[in-house]
Amino acid sequence: MEQQVQSETKKTRGGRTYGIIDCDVHPSPRNTDEIRFYMSQPWKDRYHGSTRGFFGNPVHGARLDATPPGGGPTGSDPDFLREQLIDKYGHAYAILLPRAFCNLQPDPDFGTAIAAAFNDWLADTWLGKYNHDGVFKGSITVNHQDPQAAAREIERWAGHPHFVQVMTDSGARAPFGQRQYYPIYEACERHGLPFAIHPGTDGMGINVQPSPGYPTHYIEWHTCLSLGFQAHLVSFLTEGVFERFPNFKIVLTEGGVAWLPGLMWRLNAEYKALRYEVPWMKRRPSDYLRDHVRISSQPLERPDDDRELLQMLDMMDAKHILMFASDYPHWDFDSPTQTFPRLPEEMHRRIFYENARELYNL
């Protein structure tokens, strides 16, 4: 509790009395052996690191100035990450989402082993020995291709003081509202852990691509990552996941923001007649958002006219469902001080701090 009080009273830019809660920060192992250390055979010999394989950024995938001074991958040096992010912007908490890319594996046992090793690694390092002040909060990586195993992995970490959510890739073989995934949501609900979805293996390995076939270019693939998020959200709503699991919450991380009002208008319109098809959906689709859905801000769309962005934030109920994220150290990092136009003070406090504090019980 001492740590929490200290973080909350940290003075930041603009004389604000709250620090930022950054909902998408990517720590990285220094090398593959750091992960392999936590694996048993036969996985230890089989694991050579996993990347998403293709659709690599043709320019650069991470901030060039985020490479640690002593070398190693971006996000692998806790002191440098603290200097460049936590201390620079006055972060109260960073929610860590490691990139295991376990969901693209055809072998569910291998995918589950990768997820487990990343969790052991994160708990020992960033949530353990690098975390003297408790600024780092982590995500339990699960392999959604094997929901029963994913649920067991959640059970293994439930109650850990620094794991605050469950995370998986948006890349999938079926929309996330479908019933095969329910063991995961049951475990999340039982332990009060939100379920965060992050892009990364869409169209890779055994996952389908959420566009008509494969786009040609990274610019298309990256822009259209939000299509998968929209499909997952519609699925969650129409399948009645939030009726079945009334305390279950999801976090849409790095999936885009500005599409939400239009999608909800469309779904609300459809609902008027087609409610008939999904009678368990007792509320208007958009009425579920405040209780069950949070969206992280990066990469925030920026129209030429700031007033249009502010209108969109009102339309989507950003004050209650949007949470700031930087995506450090990736190339499309959103600076905490530059990404948003000037916001009404109460909206700023909720987006940069309060919404995440409530969701994660910080």
């Binding site: 950024n57 320019v59 650069h60 901030r63 060039l64 100035d65 190339w331 499309d332 990092f333 959103d334 600076s335 001080t337 530059q338 990404t339």
Partner: protein, 136 residues
């Protein structure tokens, strides 16, 4: 306008650049094919240290399906979001009129030899004696 000697021209050969602080401002000085340019080391987008980015070329405007690579060494790419800037004028490639980084005047000047070695009677100017000067 402040005159600031930032180093010897010989120490900044073509293709090289350096970041200096003058009058409290971080400035990147570039040698592009023998010509010198200075840009503010802050991206107009989100304030990233622009001049720490990679100096590169660019795909030139072309017909669909055609690749024309050119301007090698004249393009600076922001180390964060990868936006391209023309080093020779500070203008972004994607919107040169609205998105640009501040430029500063750079000159290559001979240092006054009297100050350095008063006893010498004549002095042959060599390239390595030239200094790069940034005016802010």
């Amino acid at each position: 306008m402040g005159r600031h000697v930032i180093g010897a021209a010989a120490d900044l050969p073509p293709g090289k650049n350096k970041i200096v602080t003058v009058e409290g401002r971080s400035v990147g000085v570039f040698n592009v094919n023998g010509s010198y340019y200075a840009l503010k080391n802050a991206c107009p987008h989100q304030g990233a240290p622009l001049c720490m980015g990679r100096v590169t070329g660019m795909t030139l405007p072309s017909e669909p399906g055609q690749y024309l690579y050119g301007r090698d060494g004249e393009i600076l790419r922001c180390p964060w979001h990868g936006w391209e800037f023309d080093i020779t004028n500070g203008k972004s490639i994607f919107d040169p009129h609205k998105c640009l980084v501040k430029t500063y005047k750079v000159a290559v000047e001979e240092e006054s030899i009297e100050e350095e070695s008063p006893s010498v009677e004549t002095y042959e100017v060599k390239v390595e004696d030239a200094k790069i000067v940034v005016y802010i």
